[in-house]
């Protein structure tokens, strides 16, 4: 085991409330043979980072509909969504749209 995959996870629009009210997390993902995707990242986040009410963030194997995901400031819908292969130093942002005014 050498050093893992370093990524920045950011939260906005209220999603940060589910992650200890911290908007920016620098994390290191353990590296093995299978490359990291957003799919496996979500599972990791659920087990390691998510502090409360997981059903407000995860639904099935993906994010709850209404949560926007941006990878390096680009909409994940352009990048293959769950199958996007995470690279070192990526910034992945989760914005909740579910909070009203």
């Amino acid at each position: 085991m050498t050093d893992g995959l370093q990524v920045t996870l950011e939260f906005g629009g209220g999603a940060e409330l589910l992650f200890g009210n911290i908007k920016k997390h620098e994390v290191t993902l353990p590296v093995d043979d299978t490359p990291w995707t957003i799919r496996s990242l979500l599972t990791w986040m659920k087990d390691n980072l998510l502090k409360e009410r997981p059903e407000l963030f995860i639904q099935g194997d993906t994010v709850r509909p209404g949560i926007l995901v941006l990878v390096n400031d680009a909409d994940w819908e352009l990048l293959g969504e769950l199958d996007y292969k995470i690279e070192s130093k990526d910034t992945i942002l989760f914005i909740s749209t579910l909070h009203g005014g």
Binding site: G12, G13, G14, L17, R64, P65, G66, L68, L70, D73, A74, D75, E77, L78, L79, I95, S96, T97, L98, H99, G100, G101
Partner: protein, 339 residues
């Protein structure tokens, strides 16, 4: 592998538009977003030159984006509007007091005058006090009914020509679904109109410039423009019924993004036969607001609070009348005994 902008400008796309499926770069997205709101404003004849328009501002994403984009378009297309911010302080500690700070930030950033009206000064009750009396059930009914009237009163005090609200396409589709599920044909017929009809003299019209704007794009616009908005859920129980409609709609949208526009379109196309009896909208005999009953909902709810019968405005009006009569009778009896 970056995706290129659909407009062939050569830049990398940052967003997939839910409405069209287009991939757009930041600048082309800003342009498309603003142009669509402009075209909604023009084709709906929402404003007249010289109008004073109050933006109903909560500090949330929709009203923050609305205030910003109206300012941009007013300058770019020379609408000749005088824009002001109107906020309602429901008196919810830990929620509205914080979000009003965001509105004050908007006031300074966008250089718009701000008027804040509170439930306490208008009705003599804060939401905190109401919840202390009625508990956490039905409190959203009080809040919603009072907010509607508070905005009307604020608009009258400010002497504005119309009130612009931040209702977006997702909100409208939700409302259509909710009115279908509730079987509320009167509301179903009018909930999609872009300008609320001023059937009653002296009512200030409300307009929805973001009516065709998807929530996803509003949030993306706010993010890429670095607009500051407030995004904490209300500390009281969220509106459960709307929550169900919303979750259902988000699931549908995942499968077919155009569903939002489709539902709005269905709502707009709906026509009720002339021979269907709909409630006639008149004026409340107590406060003069628009109402389909002798007393408007806000006055009934307020009377319930002040009489210590908070259920008065919840449920059937016949039950309310009975409770009111009973209390009056009891009081009378007590007065007789006292003598």
């Amino acid at each position: 592998m970056p995706v290129l902008c659909s407009s062939k400008c050569g830049k990398n796309a940052i967003l997939k538009r839910p409405k069209t499926g287009d991939a757009l770069c930041k600048d082309c997205f800003f342009w498309a977003f603003e142009t669509e709101v402009h075209s909604t404003i023009i084709s709906g004849n929402l404003f007249k030159r010289g109008d004073t328009v109050a933006v109903a501002a909560s500090g949330g994403k929709d009203s923050t984006v609305l205030a910003y984009v109206l300012k941009v378009l007013n300058e770019r297309h020379d609408y000749g509007l005088n824009l002001v911010l109107l906020s309602i302080d429901e008196g919810i500690t830990g929620y509205r007091d914080d979000s009003l700070e965001t509105v004050k930030q908007n006031r300074d950033d966008y250089q718009m005058p701000l008027k804040i009206l509170s439930y306490e000064e208008l009705f003599g009750w804060t939401m905190d006090a109401i919840v202390a009396q009625i508990g956490r059930k039905n409190n959203c009914t009080f809040c919603g009914v009072f907010r509607r009237q508070a905005l009307d009163k604020g608009a009258t005090q400010l002497g504005v020509n119309c009130v612009a609200t931040g209702h977006n396409a997702d909100d409208l589709a939700e409302t259509v679904l909710m009115n279908i599920l509730r079987g509320d044909i009167a509301r179903l017929q009018r909930c999609t109109s872009i300008i609320t009809e001023s059937e009653t003299e002296g009512t200030i019209p409300r307009v929805k410039p973001l009516k065709y704007t998807y929530e996803k794009e509003i949030v993306m616009y706010a993010y890429f423009k670095r607009l500051v908005y407030f995004s904490t859920e209300c500390v009281f129980a969220p509106n459960a019924y709307r929550g169900h409609a919303r979750a259902f709609l988000k699931d549908l949208e995942k499968i077919r993004p155009s569903v939002i526009m489709d539902i709005i379109h269905s709502g707009e196309s709906l026509q009720v036969k002339d021979n269907v009896k709909l409630p006639v909208r008149t004026q409340c005999s107590r406060c003069g607001s628009v109402s389909s009953q002798e007393l408007c909902k806000a006055c009934v709810l307020l009377e319930g609070l002040n009489r210590g019968l908070p259920k008065l405005g919840i449920g059937k009006s016949s039950l309310a009348n009975r409770a009111r009569d009973q209390q009056d009778a009891e009081k009378k009896e007590k007065v007789i005994c006292d003598f």
